[in-house]
Symmetry: C2
Subunit: 333 residues, 2 copies
Amino acid sequence: MKAGTGHVVGMLMAAAGGIVTGLVEAADALPSWNEGAAKGAIFQFVDRTTRAGSPDFVPPDERVAVFDNDGTLWAEQPLYVQLQFVIDRVRALAPRHPEWRTLEPFASILKGDVRAALAGGERALAELAMATHAGTTSEEFETIVSDWIATAKHPVTGRPYTEMVYRPMLELLAYLRAHGFKTYIVSGGGIEFMRPWSARIYGVPPEQVIGSSIKTRFELREGRPVLVRLPELNFIDEGPGKPVGIQTHVGRRPLAAFGNSDGDLQMLEWTAAGPGPRFCLYVHHTDAAREWAYDRTSSIGRLDKGLDEAKTRGWTVVDMKTDWKRVFEFESR
Amino acid sequence: MKAGTGHVVGMLMAAAGGIVTGLVEAADALPSWNEGAAKGAIFQFVDRTTRAGSPDFVPPDERVAVFDNDGTLWAEQPLYVQLQFVIDRVRALAPRHPEWRTLEPFASILKGDVRAALAGGERALAELAMATHAGTTSEEFETIVSDWIATAKHPVTGRPYTEMVYRPMLELLAYLRAHGFKTYIVSGGGIEFMRPWSARIYGVPPEQVIGSSIKTRFELREGRPVLVRLPELNFIDEGPGKPVGIQTHVGRRPLAAFGNSDGDLQMLEWTAAGPGPRFCLYVHHTDAAREWAYDRTSSIGRLDKGLDEAKTRGWTVVDMKTDWKRVFEFESR
């Protein structure tokens, strides 16, 4: 990966929400995408469903597009960003939890052996997140996340995590919104971990963020109402949980779904099964130079069954290496 | 209650979404409200938070208004509408459940003794709803609800339930939306019971409906993905559950909250506790002639603690008898 000087411009654009206007007015709404089957399929689908007079025209209210986050909108290697957050929280909270020195998965994290802590899979990750995320109010947690995301740096690039987002996907989000789509994030990650920054970085407001959660309880503390985050799992928005999360939050079947792993497969299947035109896209991580190359055997973001299914069903598969002109905003042009 | 001939016009207006345009262009955006403290407080709050240059100006993104449904947007007497639906479902399903003849609360309902079935309170109601609502897919359930609401009639007025909505509240919803507010329903009723008709009747799309729910599970049936509704409670969106539901679905604290019972109290408290201007309103059922009169001792929609709290905190209390020029669209003018 090469670091460039374009990131200040990128941050300003994203912060000002200027991407929408800028891209839509441009001749090419997806300038970071190379010409090819993926880009063509996107343009074709949007034209087909939004052009007045099209036989497959879909009313704006029903234009729902759902996006996985980790590995689809931002990098998930070498570790999920939220796991990096968990690691930092475990370290910050360790003095208050002497028992963590011998208790897994905390002990492994404190020893710096994150792979060992990760061995328990998605659910262990959720449990770990829960243990480090509970015990605060919802407002306190928002502050903790906001403070962390403002300062934490990616371990390989040294960039803020919010710069590890894929420029082509930001363009795609903006392009869909400009055509009346409501864009949702549907992530296995924590809903309250994404909400503090999703509007600024992705243009996706908190009410359009769907994710995993722990339970919360309403309490009056000295007469002041608070929502207390409890150390109890509420919902895992992963795999078969994603269609459930979408139904709970949106109450409509998506028109288009974007993912990068087998954890997104049911979301894509659910989307594809609706009547009329539907669009399903997998981001395939094929670029070891600019990002990472991984799929069928990766412990993070495994794409195995999904890759076969995409082929069988004719879903669009983005080859990051050939389909994306630029991956990150900070790359030199 | 008097029945009139205006309901066709009302239905057409609601169906076409014409209310928004119609009301905003009118000199008085709330024509069914008598001049008085309640109407004045609403106008004042909206002006204060939405007028450019106002020191209390709130950006459109943060203008969230939450509305209870039963007793706030439509009539909940003599029984909650969803309970009427449950009764009809119990009768329809009874041939398949011979055990219900002796099993409470089903037995009481089959005998026509709804009050006895209702004795178990909100939670019993939710359990009953769950038992009659589970076992279908989400799509099948949507069809069942849509078919029912299209034909079922209110036991006292003989009107479709969708005509039992309060005209002044429809005006208020439209008025707030015309001023950039996003309007949400936050009901103790079932989320999937309201979504099939909320857009048509209230102008509130499915993704802005929050309610109680049972668990659902993603399944492939002969290769076709479905969401199966399980006989297991997922979430009760009532009392202290309402702020939790709002945080889950919206991720922002409301600017304004509207309710009619003690079950809305925590939602109003949570709203009021935010920084800057907030607006809390209780609809007080005081009109036995045009609607029903009930508050502190009612088993349905009890308003006791909330009425005291409203007085202490200076919340707006709507006296239906004096504040509302017209309650239902179908009343003769």
